[in-house]
């Protein structure tokens, strides 16, 4: 019989991992659902963000969290530029998958060229901070990931729902020509949205750098499960990937705590298949 501590700690572990799935899925969901671009390069960008955090912190001595001040605006500009390129050549959603896969390979090669294929680990004071609640431990980097994921998801959701800018974005995503007829500048809003999505990848990069050892090839290990979180959560829905991510993370963690860890990867994809079968028309 597993102990209460084992179950509780595994539950926490699943929530934190799920928050990272949600954070990685946030930008992907927005670009897929609202811009009709399946941006595989989002994962590569997140890792580039993680490596930049590592570099700025380990070599230049920046506080890891402070690196966001540089990374977020740079990634915003990169995201907008990428969207401009994709829009300029009228790339279809399916072709965007291919183009951004190519971009992923380029970014991976760039990372490997600069930092080599060797593993990199960011050693920061944050890594040693953990809070004890009863018999359970809450590590600061994971808690930060949860806070960032929840804050950004809620802000984006509220922004899209309650602000004029957000409503215009939703209108443009729904029917661009009609939205344009009402004075919505669809091009500018698309650039803004893709910039935001890339900036979120930069934020996810910070969380990756604080919690994981980095290697360029690890870009691909996140693709499957984050795609599952995005699809289960609903395309273009800012809160959906976070909730779905936490459901997947908790399911995986509890599976690992109660049965063999090898069963854990089956959970996310089984959930995906069930959701696809149950609500295919809504995805």
């Amino acid at each position: 019989m597993p102990s209460f501590t084992l179950l509780g700690q595994s539950l926490l572990s699943g929530i934190f991992l799920g928050a990272l799935y949600g954070l990685l899925g946030l930008g992907l969901s927005l670009s897929w659902g609202m811009l009709r671009q399946i941006n595989l390069a989002h994962f590569a960008l997140a890792f580039l963000g993680a490596y930049l955090t590592y570099q700025l912190s380990s070599v230049a001595g920046w506080d890891p969290i402070a690196t966001l001040a540089l990374i977020v605006p740079c990634f915003f500009a990169f995201g907008a530029l990428t969207h401009w390129f994709l829009a300029r050549f009228s790339i279809t959603p399916f072709n965007s998958l291919l183009v951004t896969f190519g971009l992923t390979v380029i970014i991976e090669s760039l990372i490997q060229w600069i930092w080599t294929a060797d593993h990199r680990r960011l050693e920061s004071a944050y890594g040693a901070i953990r809070y004890k609640i009863g018999a359970m431990y809450v590590p600061f980097p994971e808690l930060l990931t949860l806070v960032l994921a929840a804050t950004l998801s809620i802000l984006v959701w509220a922004g899209l729902r309650y602000t004029d800018l957000g409503k215009a974005m939703r209108a443009a995503a729904e029917d661009a020509p009609i939205a344009a007829a009402f004075g919505v500048n669809e091009r500018m809003l698309s650039l803004l949205l893709s910039g935001l999505a890339a900036a979120f990848a930069g934020v996810a990069g910070l969380c990756l750098a604080l919690s994981f050892t980095l290697a360029p090839s690890q870009i691909y290990t996140w693709v499957g499960v984050v795609f599952a979180a995005v699809m289960i959560g609903g395309l273009g829905n800012p809160i959906g990937p976070l909730i779905a991510g936490i459901v997947i993370g908790v399911s995986e963690s509890l599976t690992m705590a109660l049965t063999a860890p090898t069963w854990a990867p089956l959970v996310s994809f089984s959930l995906l298949i069930i959701v696809l079968l149950a609500r295919a028309e809504k995805i």
Binding site: G14, Q112, W115, H119, R121, T213, A215
Partner: protein, 401 residues
């Protein structure tokens, strides 16, 4: 003045021991001997394959500085198999049929070696390889393992580890085995399970995960919950670091812990890994470095690895196995005075080769010889050999909590 003279003599001695003749007599002529291989220069195995690349480059450079092979210069035709066995297979075909290399050597790691072995068998090429982790799959009669782990490492290596632990006052009574399902790692972990049972060590936990697992939190929780005396971690690459990180987050430190095939540099640098055990065929300290060939290689490798920006610049199992591969091939060519695959193969089967990891022989099952694996431990941020006694680092002893 005296110092520089002594240094010069030492270097000259080392060079002579390496067979690196002084430039006046170091003349190669004729077309180069072309030796082909692939390495995982990109992809998930590239972090380790870079070690084999650096080692091969150093060896070929040293060879060409003396008389090359058979008086001819040596050219290493190296291709990138992208860490994929299917690509390795295609490229070995290409090396033999299109590039028409004279000889081939093995790629990195086990799945790619098995692919290359199939091609070598089809064309009757001798294949000396670096780090094949599953000896039972090496069926080709002209393949030769330069990583001397013996024909049954899944039994002999865990036995060596338990022998080492038995010498301490904290010999484990209970054991948790947590392991990746990466084939060569899994084989060893299952072996450890069997060896522990035979030795009367009680297994309190056995967990396995898929290679590429991201979340080690629940595994760490379960190990903590099981309260073992000894944790056997079947972890390739960074999996061991990830598990230790997860353990640190729940304020747990395993009392005794062993890692099968960790990324040695990153693990040694992790503060939580102090006291961690692993297996090794070579570490860069005496008595290994009493061999002048090894000492010279260590010196050059340290410089090149630093220049290449590797996190860990030291020579250990991977680099030593790689260096030994070239030593075995060179010995075969030199002894047979030719490039005939069959002749080299026959010579290797009947003879032993001195390498930096020890004396290798290929006369047991599947051309494996002795298990030369030793036990090493992280002590103050660096690996030191702690078992068996004759290979212990000077002043080192197996630390227990």
């Amino acid at each position: 003045m005296m110092n520089s003279k002594r240094r010069a003599l030492t270097v000259a001695g080392a060079l002579l021991a390496l067979g690196v003749a002084v430039p006046a007599v170091a003349a190669t002529s004729g077309p180069p001997i072309r030796i082909g291989s692939t390495l995982a220069l990109t992809g998930p195995l590239s972090g380790t394959a870079i070690i084999h690349k650096l080692t091969g480059e150093i060896y070929v450079e040293l060879l060409n500085k003396k008389n090359g092979l058979l008086g001819r210069p040596v050219e290493w035709v190296l291709k990138d198999d992208q860490s994929k066995p299917d690509v390795a297979r295609t490229l070995y075909e290409q090396l033999i049929t299109v590039d028409k290399v004279d000889l081939v050597i093995g790629p990195y790691a086990t799945p790619n070696i098995i692919s290359a072995m199939g091609v070598a068998q089809r064309y009757n090429k001798v294949l000396v390889h670096h780090t094949m982790g599953i000896p039972s799959l090496a069926k080709y009669e002209m393949q030769f393992p330069a990583w001397s782990v013996g024909p049954n490492p899944e039994m002999t290596v865990p036995n060596t580890v338990f022998d080492a632990l038995a010498t301490t006052s904290k010999a484990p009574k209970t054991l948790a085995i947590v392991t990746s399902k990466f084939p060569s790692v899994y084989l060893m972990s299952k072996g450890a399970q069997e060896v522990a049972k035979k030795r009367g060590v009680k297994e309190v936990l056995f967990l396995e995960w898929e290679f590429g697992n991201k979340d080690y939190g629940p595994i760490a929780n379960r190990v903590k919950d099981a309260k073992p005396d000894f944790v056997w971690v079947g972890a390739i690459g960074l999996e061991g670091n990830e598990l230790l990180d997860a353990m640190k987050k729940i304020d747990y430190k395993p009392p005794l812990h062993f890692y099968m095939y960790p990324a040695p540099g990153p693990l040694a640098k992790l503060p939580e890994a102090n006291g961690a055990l692993a297996a090794s065929i070579f570490e860069q300290h005496p008595p290994f470095t009493n061999n002048p060939v090894a000492a010279e290689f260590v010196k050059i490798y340290n410089e090149r690895a630093a220049k290449a920006g590797l996190v860990d610049n030291s020579v250990e199992t991977q680099a030593a196995a790689s260096f030994s591969t070239w030593q075995v091939l060179e010995a075969g060519i030199t002894a047979t005075k030719g490039l005939n695959d069959k002749a080299i193969s026959q010579w290797l089967k009947k003879n032993q080769v001195n390498t930096i990891q020890g004396r290798l022989r290929f006369d047991k099952t599947n051309n494996y010889g002795d298990d030369l694996m030793r036990v090493k431990q992280v002590q103050n941020g660096r690996w030191v050999t702690v078992w068996p006694k004759e290979w212990m680092a000077p002043g080192a002893k197996l630390m227990t909590p």
